[in-house]
């Protein structure tokens, strides 16, 4: 079992490195994870994407594809990659405390 240290606490993660328990997540943990991912400060635009990812996951049991993010989150592809250079869906899911989306697109 793997853990990461967030704000001095050991928190369980899955094999992708995303939080294992949804309940371990809050806005503070999000900011801590973002820092680990090299994003110093989460802006309103980051939050728009993160909240959309979380909403989709809660409703459908899986995070959206990058295409759905592009079409429906209100943030276009270019900006998505500017906000999350290492992969928008993958990183926004990690910061948002949900599993990595399963889609291929």
């Amino acid at each position: 079992m793997s853990t990461i240290e967030l704000a001095g606490k050991q928190i369980e993660v899955d094999s992708d490195g995303n939080l294992k328990n949804l309940n371990d997540w809050n806005e503070e943990t999000a900011s801590e994870i973002a820092k680990l991912e090299g994003i110093e400060k989460l802006t309103d635009r980051h939050w728009l994407v993160i909240n959309f990812m979380r909403k989709e996951f809660m409703e459908k049991g899986d995070g959206p594809t990058v295409r759905r993010l592009t079409k429906e989150s209100g943030v276009g592809t270019k900006e998505l990659y500017a906000l999350f250079p290492k992969g928008p869906a993958k990183k926004a899911a990690r910061i948002g405390g949900i599993p990595k989306p399963k889609g291929c697109i």
Partner: protein
């Protein structure tokens, strides 16, 4: 990854698309987009009939081959009937749409916006008498094979 992985992660890929059928085009596009989704740097290089996927007048008409394609599992004479290829293509596109796989034009734009560079092959461009204006706006440049290798420095090259 939390498990020990002894191999270096892939950092960059250069994907060559050489065929102009639906099944010739999509795997390369999905791999390029997938690379960017994983934070991997990517180039797409279109050559020969693969250039149909970035050519203005053909990119909205990429089809499944129903003749000479044993994997269709239909007799050749049926595959040759008028409208058969269009029918198979539209069925397949519907299935792909369900998986959130976009039509070629939208996919190319999305991949380009994701930071993947898109190139056409100089030799093929000359052979088919094409010009930069014949391509969609997302094509960055027409390059030689030498330039392709330069662009691919440090990349894994994937031929489709």
């Amino acid at each position: 990854m939390t498990e020990e992985n002894i191999f270096e992660p892939i950092k960059k890929v250069s994907i060559i698309v050489s065929k102009g059928t639906l099944d010739g085009v999509y795997p390369g596009l999905i791999m390029a987009n997938g690379a960017r989704m994983e934070g991997i740097e990517a180039n797409l290089f279109f050559t020969f009939f693969g250039m149909d996927a970035i050519t203005e007048k053909s990119m909205d008409h990429i089809h499944v081959a129903t003749v000479g394609n044993p994997a269709m599992h239909i007799p050749t004479f049926l595959g040759a009937l008028p409208g058969m290829s269009a029918f198979a293509t539209s069925k397949m596109m519907k299935e792909m749409e369900k998986l959130d796989i976009p039509p070629v034009r939208e996919f190319i734009e999305m991949i380009h916006d994701a930071g993947c560079k898109i190139f056409a092959c100089k030799a093929s461009v000359d052979m088919f008498h094409l010009k930069k204006e014949d391509f969609c706006k997302d094509v960055d440049d027409i390059i030689t094979v030498g330039q392709f290798y330069e662009e691919s420095a440090g990349a894994n090259i994937i031929f489709t």
